[in-house]
Symmetry: C2
């Protein structure tokens, strides 16, 4: 097992990564001082719950915890105010008090939803993340939690740090191959923004990662979480540095917003977005090879690197304007200068973005 600590003063917390951790959950909760008298609420989705909920409940109960659970439908639609209210109702009916903890067992959707319940139930209770996807290594570090509004994603939320993240790599074995690749997009993103060696390592170990080799996953997740943790430690409330984590996300969110439901997974959309950012980087002076190296890295992880022609350029641009990274009249973009080094550039003209989108389509 590897353990890393997210350094946030009195809100610091450990991330444990390794095999078999689900069977030791109670032990880790006790270690973090989570009260045994007060009921826990486990939030999960139908898919994840069918594999792992019983194991988690039985381990927690064996350790003396009372558990309640609430299972939502898989997918982004569960990040709604209506489902949020249902989870709060379950918390009240389950008798959760101010000393209780809410546990997210699942991927990013469950983490964001359960985290916002933890942030707002009785004005905030403890929160534990048990991510069961590769993608969630990103969302489980940093304390960003929230739900969607019909007009915009992640519009309602909070910064609420977990007490503990338990990453049991065994739970990744049930991931469909497409979600494995999509999760690896966020993993390699952490290399692309901060650590060139790690980005090349991801490319060179793509076969092991795609085959869910436990040792490769443990290393890759630990590295990915470390980069995220380092950035978050330096800028918890997203004042400046933290923006670099959005590499590929401005274009990626726009793709997600206008494409049909299920056409792109989040990781696939940001993979295309990261190629777009590389194109923009070259436009702003980076070595032209940057685009090919980036494409090659992402392709090795079986990720898409170009935009289907049917996605309308004007609608993509419009979606970007509505994105919350659009501040006070200018488009702000995270732009790579080289592999492992990015910069936040303000006031990028819309015409440049339009060209990048057209280039992303040409290569399809």
């Amino acid at each position: 097992m590897s353990t890393l600590t997210v350094q946030l003063g009195e809100r610091s917390y450990p991330i444990h990564i390794g095999r078999g951790l689900l069977h030791r959950a109670g032990e880790f909760l006790k270690e973090r001082g989570i009260a045994q008298k007060s009921p826990l609420l486990i939030v999960s989705d139908e898919h994840t719950a069918s594999f792992y909920l019983a194991t988690l409940e039985s381990n927690l109960q064996k350790s003396g915890y009372k558990t309640e659970s609430f299972v939502v439908k898989p997918g982004e639609t569960s990040k709604s105010l209506a489902v949020f209210e249902q989870v709060i109702t379950a918390a009240i009916q389950g008798g959760l008090d101010r000393h209780s903890a809410v546990i997210a067992l699942g991927g990013g959707v469950v983490g964001d939803l359960a985290g916002f319940v933890a942030a707002s139930y009785m004005r905030g209770v403890k929160f534990v993340q048990i991510p069961t996807t590769i993608l969630a290594h990103d969302s489980s570090v940093g304390g960003k939690v929230g739900i969607n509004h019909p007009l915009a994603k992640n519009m309602i939320g909070a910064f609420h740090q977990p007490e503990l993240v338990l990453y049991d790599v065994d739970t990744l074995s049930t991931l469909p191959p497409r979600e494995v690749s999509a999760g690896l997009a966020e993993m390699i993103k952490h290399g692309l923004i901060w650590d060139a060696n790690f980005a090349y390592w991801c490319r060179d170990h793509a076969a092991d990662l795609l085959a869910l080799d436990a040792a490769a996953l443990e290393y890759g997740l630990e590295k990915g979480c470390s980069v995220k943790a380092e950035v978050v430690s330096r800028d918890e409330r997203e004042n400046d540095l933290r923006a670099i984590l959005n590499l590929g996300h401005t274009i990626g969110h726009a793709i997600e917003a206008i494409a049909g439901y299920g056409e792109f997974l989040h990781g696939e959309a940001i993979s295309i977005g990261m190629v777009g950012s590389a194109l923009l980087g070259v436009k702003l002076g980076a070595d032209p090879a940057l685009v090919e190296v980036t494409r090659d890295m992402l392709s090795s992880l079986r990720l898409p690197t170009s935009l289907p022609a049917h996605l309308d350029t004007d609608r993509l641009l419009e979606a970007m304007m509505h994105d919350k990274k659009f501040k006070e009249g200018s488009i702000t973009f995270v732009v790579p200068r080289s592999i492992g080094r990015v910069e936040v550039v303000k006031d990028i003209p819309v015409s440049d973005i339009r060209q990048v989108i057209e280039q992303l389509k040409e290569e399809a």
Copy 2:
């Protein structure tokens, strides 16, 4: 104008109390560095908006701010998830960004609702309180914001400190007499828990306060806010000391929960609750005169001090069990030892509370 500062480290903020402040709102916002480029959202209720919204908007616009507004129905029903979603929609449609501020213009309901919008919109934007009731001097200090769940009040919320509180005592002139008294209940509560002289001052100046004399109000609100600010500074997240602010609230919330809508205002319910707490204090050893002095103080402010016989004792007790101050199997109560001095007592037997409720009815 009096100004006091709530000391919370980097989250410290000023409370300005005086006449004519609504006409200087823009000046105070600029002083606190609130961005002029990003639109403001003013949240108010129909009643308050009819008197003061135009004045506030025109002053802010004169100072170079863009303003949006959203007006809700007066009353507790607006503290719902449905209305919360409407306000968020208004914020998105009004183009509020991360540098925007949400302004609460109104009483406690508007403050709690707008504050939770500010706490959760884009994971938190700036918040300004412009309270227009006496009662709101309590809720506008301390950062507790939130909305109700059909099963329990204030169940969904956050701690989100304002940038600034602007208390224009001129806006109190439109308060109905019953709400004046109800507001004074929270004012004298601050004396009863912390400052005996102030409690006696409220009694001795009851006529001035009830007549809305500006000088008396300015002094009383400043004192009330100071006590609240002092307690909150020492315990922002309600770990221990802050609980004393709940004097009268356990019984008060139960009364509000089971009485018909509108039968009791919050201040009226906690007035009865504070007499109940005095009865409990005497039961636990305080001077028996405590009850009469407390009743006399509250009566001088034209507040109720006994419980109508038709409120069922069992239902009141049951409502208390559901209150979130009920922790881990024991009832915790704030109990006065003398005027100006209280203690938080755990594990009070339900039978004692039952007796207190019966006594509160006898005196009706």
